[in-house]
């Protein structure tokens, strides 16, 4: 297998594949996460046998691989090199996933040290029967309750720069805020008036394939809907909402691939990217390409903090 040979030659890799495939690989300088969905050179692919390998950029020097649990994860950025990049993979729905989603924006040194990565998942047919995992390539051991990080150093004069492509824009509808943050919400303020969020979504017949969108000083950040339970009055989300942030439901996108082509920055050379499973499904990306932005299709994306329904990429720039 190509991935196995690359590992044996000492190549340093970020890997995505089904769990049994990752666990069949030799030990080496790699970290992995479970997922069978990919955006490859020939387009969106679902494969239980393939491995998607992202080689570390050649500019990266020394590396350190580390496992984190929910108590040590807040140290992630302080343990990252002063100049470098941290690749991070978290298992979906794990304690570390929830910890990172809720608290990463406030971690010491967050935003001072580039952190990029993704949330591992499973084939959608296996939801509820298999658990998402990360794999430590040093030992070829899988974890469903830990985060795996690869800290890489960069030489002076080189900087890791993170970018996002979020095709969703804030709609012109209601401004929504939340009195409590979290992955599950009940109460909301709609244009300042308190309202059950589930009742609001149901009565307005909101298409919940469209995410909530917040504007973070020019960065549009999504929160995707998982489940609306009008009877229980609860709304489950794929990322937490935060207090003090104004959200709007996104405008719909008619042609994802066309919109993506227009949004793609020109002249960049991404060394890593990942895209959201919800984009893959809702925009029917199987067999379609995203022009050089290849990588795993994930249960969440990381560009410093957790993102939803977004393409994340990284470039190495002159510093």
């Amino acid at each position: 297998m190509e991935a196995a040979n690359r590992i044996k030659t000492g190549e340093r890799l970020l890997l995505a594949a089904e769990e049994k495939v990752l666990l069949s690989l030799p030990a080496g300088s790699w970290i992995g996460g479970t997922i069978p969905y990919f955006m490859g050179e020939h387009g969106g692919t679902v494969s239980r046998e393939a491995v998607f390998a992202t080689p570390l950029p050649s500019e990266i020097g020394a590396i350190q691989i580390a496992l984190y649990d929910s108590s040590t994860l807040p140290n992630l950025a302080t343990e990252a090199p002063e100049n470098g990049v941290t690749f991070l993979i978290l298992p979906s729905s794990s304690k570390v996933h929830l910890e990172y989603a809720q608290n990463a924006p406030d971690y010491k040194d967050m935003f001072m040290k580039p952190i990029v990565g993704w949330i591992s998942g499973v084939h959608l047919d296996d939801l509820g029967t298999s658990s998402p995992k990360v794999v430590d390539g040093r030992s070829v051991k899988a974890y469903d309750d830990k985060a795996i990080a690869l800290h890489g150093t960069l030489p002076p004069g080189k900087i890791a720069k993170l970018g996002i492509i979020n095709l969703f824009k804030q709609g012109r509808g209601d401004v929504i805020t939340f009195p409590e943050g979290g992955f599950e919400v009940r109460r909301s303020y709609v244009n300042g008036a308190e309202r059950s969020f589930a009742e609001y979504l149901t009565s307005k017949k909101i298409d919940t394939r469209l995410p909530l969108v917040a504007d973070y000083s020019g960065a549009l950040v999504n929160v995707s809907f998982q489940q609306v339970d009008a009877e229980k009055g609860s709304v489950k989300l794929y990322a937490p909402v935060f207090t003090g942030v104004k959200y709007r439901i996104a405008d719909p996108i008619d042609d994802y691939v066309g919109a993506f082509s227009k949004a793609l920055p020109k002249g960049i050379n991404p060394v890593f990217s990942c895209n959201c499973i919800l984009n893959f499904l809702y925009s029917e990306l199987e067999g379609k390409t995203t022009q050089g932005m290849t990588g795993p299709v994930t249960f969440g994306e990381i560009a410093f903090q957790l993102l939803n329904q977004t393409l994340v990429y990284m470039t190495i720039e002159k510093g």
Partner: protein, 75 residues
Amino acid sequence: MVPAINHPRYRQLVTGELTFQFQAYAMSMCVSRNIRMVEKEGKSPTAIKKAIDDVYAFIVKYESVLQADIAAIFG
């Protein structure tokens, strides 16, 4: 050249008195996080100082890739 930390625009930035749509994703996230923190702390002098220190350190470190955003803030 990054303007000195006592430039009044830093305070206006972290208190949300002036708002910007930044080009660099990391700049957007760093500034937004600090604006929320200052708001949450009731715009206390301690919070504002902490936010300015954070944003200044970020801009100094990544000056080379933030030229457009620095120009947007400081002219």
